[in-house]
Symmetry: C2
Subunit: 452 residues, 2 copies
Amino acid sequence: MEPNFDFDALYRLLRENKLSTLRDELAERNVVDIADFMQELSNEEAAVVFRILPKDISADVFSYLDPDSQSHIVSMITDSELSSLLDDLFLDDTVDFLEEVPANVVTRVLANADPETRALINRFLQYPDNSAGSIMTIEMVQLHDRLTAAEAIDRIRASGSDDETVYTAYCIDNARHLVGTLPLHRLLFAQADALVRDLMDDDQQLIFVTTMEDEETVADLARKYDLLSVPVVDNEKRLVGVITIDDIVDVIEEKNTEDFEKMALMHPSGTGNEYLKTGVFRLAGNRIVWLLILMISGTFTGKIIENYQSMLSVVVGLTASIPMLMDTGGNSGSQTSTLIIRGLALGEITIRDYFRVLFKELRVALICGTILATVNFLRLLIFGGSTLPVYLVICAALFCAVLSAKCIGCTLPILAKLIHLDPALMAGPMITTIVDALTLAIYFALAHAFLL
Amino acid sequence: MEPNFDFDALYRLLRENKLSTLRDELAERNVVDIADFMQELSNEEAAVVFRILPKDISADVFSYLDPDSQSHIVSMITDSELSSLLDDLFLDDTVDFLEEVPANVVTRVLANADPETRALINRFLQYPDNSAGSIMTIEMVQLHDRLTAAEAIDRIRASGSDDETVYTAYCIDNARHLVGTLPLHRLLFAQADALVRDLMDDDQQLIFVTTMEDEETVADLARKYDLLSVPVVDNEKRLVGVITIDDIVDVIEEKNTEDFEKMALMHPSGTGNEYLKTGVFRLAGNRIVWLLILMISGTFTGKIIENYQSMLSVVVGLTASIPMLMDTGGNSGSQTSTLIIRGLALGEITIRDYFRVLFKELRVALICGTILATVNFLRLLIFGGSTLPVYLVICAALFCAVLSAKCIGCTLPILAKLIHLDPALMAGPMITTIVDALTLAIYFALAHAFLL
């Protein structure tokens, strides 16, 4: 059940200029829904709504707007409103926003941030895309490991309770090195004089990443160990930030989207841009390279056909089966490669499983190939229009195509992984090309041997 | 940085029967790694390790084992050990495990559970697969909304701190209706005499699902609103459980895996079974249906070719381009359909965006089609082996194929959504078939018109 949100009623309040009623209504609503609401409005209306939002939620709402709306809001508020907004935003949300908006907006935002925030923002903007540093937040609960539980609770209480990651405290030593993690509920239920260092999970259990770590590694760790947050340290293992599960879920979805794009033979768009907001030239650019490569590699299959052109003219029924053979080979191969690529991505399959995988795929191929060849043979007998030897050659070629497609479909992704290439990016196009050529080569070789 | 885990050293301790040292070492390790370790061992060794695990982590370790290992452990421990294990397991983990193991194991587990747990397990086993009820846990912090903050903290402290979802308390009224949620840190920092009902998020903000809700809806809600957990209610809106983010992440990954499988033209395996643990016949069964359907639909393309067989024999160079045209058309179509299906799944694209999407794809198709046709024309001029009119027909057909493939690729998924079919399941196979047939029809029509 989603939160109750009556768009029309709220819009009526806005149109009738009943702003204080609207403000009271919005104060009760979820910030995600308020952001959705504002994105349906004109820029002027959105700015009006943003101005009347209660101060304790306006920064939150802002962080859920898309970059376009954020830019417009920023261009329509005063410098002092902007400074106040920057004070309330979590630093990671500020950085997310700055990474997507035009340079003049960035300049104005930096000019209105206080010097400390400005320095932090600049540091964040230098972390590479897709690094742990670029998605971490610095708002977190840090506890010195020599505090008692009572002192720690006082410390947290004094620091304000607004931290994104308040369900886990990160424990540091004198040199700010990360030494442990402490779930807040354990602190809450501990003896008042128990020491943080005795309560915390330390040493062997400590899971963390450095700022330069790939964000996908962070997501893999969080998924494997069911973590709600992952602490981030610098090269000296000093605690500098934390990555929370909501950002980790975004990384997982983005990674999956990229894998879908690779499977469908596109350069991944990478930035997590939504389809509707991506420009036409960008979309075309992401797609054209693989289309060109595969079109040109289609030359090979074309050459194979040219070589056997005279045989195709002589033996009736051979040409008509070319599309069926190529499609079935291609589909068989991509079924296998998809499962293997996915299994590799989720860590369910590793390189050393290769022979188990190959053996399994061979057996699956025997089953599928036999069924397909049999059904196709019956189809040809009934609807064919050619001769029995031709049918037998077609079905034998079909069987061989399925068998080789499945073997190639499981070998190439694991080979890619072995030589440290991205299986999703490399396997798809190569499998198509190789399976196409191989299928035709087998087909024509069989036809040449038995029909001429 | 993953937790430190020296497999070989620990295995040496096991082989040398230094069990108390091993026990001390394991006590310091992450439960996920201990489970990984046990799955590398023989069944007998795993049972030994399980027996020496400290009691406070053994149930946790058990919940991370795969169903095979779980069954073996259960078969090797005594009834009283089993009862004690069931006491320590979270109910959702018990149910997950029972859903995957043989019937005789289920019987023995139920016989050794106390009557209350048995009743609960039976109720859980009745929730449909993939429903919210089937993935929820009943271990949660419930607070009466009339308690004060101090009373609430005492209540939580008394109940023990082991709850999976202890970072959010769920607030109920006299009739156990869910009336609000309260982040634990807010409770911690509240005035002692503040009432839970005044502290909690209520009414408009309340996000919850019923037991019968689809688990994917739960995942969509959690992703949209950045939730760490989603409360589950019965038909009378009484609180019955909660779904935590770790299970939600699993649902997201499972859904993505299913979408990958559908894209690669397979029946999704559905249960989240790992590839290596899925039987050969099951794998073949998931794949053979679409292979058969597409093979048979390949008959249409075959018929089209048969009709123009005489033309293909006469005009040199036409046949050789068939694979290239079909591949490029198919790839163009699947690029588009993948982006649209993904956008629909993530809620970035809705049905009413259709004309925007179509217009965008048309422009992308114009760019891609022009580039592809031009490059191919140059390729044919250099490497061709046929005549200029043939080249022109091939390139015109290529351009039309890209254009129609992109239109079909965006129209079919949205059409599927409109008539409440699964875009991922329905669009892939139909797009392949339609684009293949259309591409050849255009090609031969052009050839017939201009070359004969």
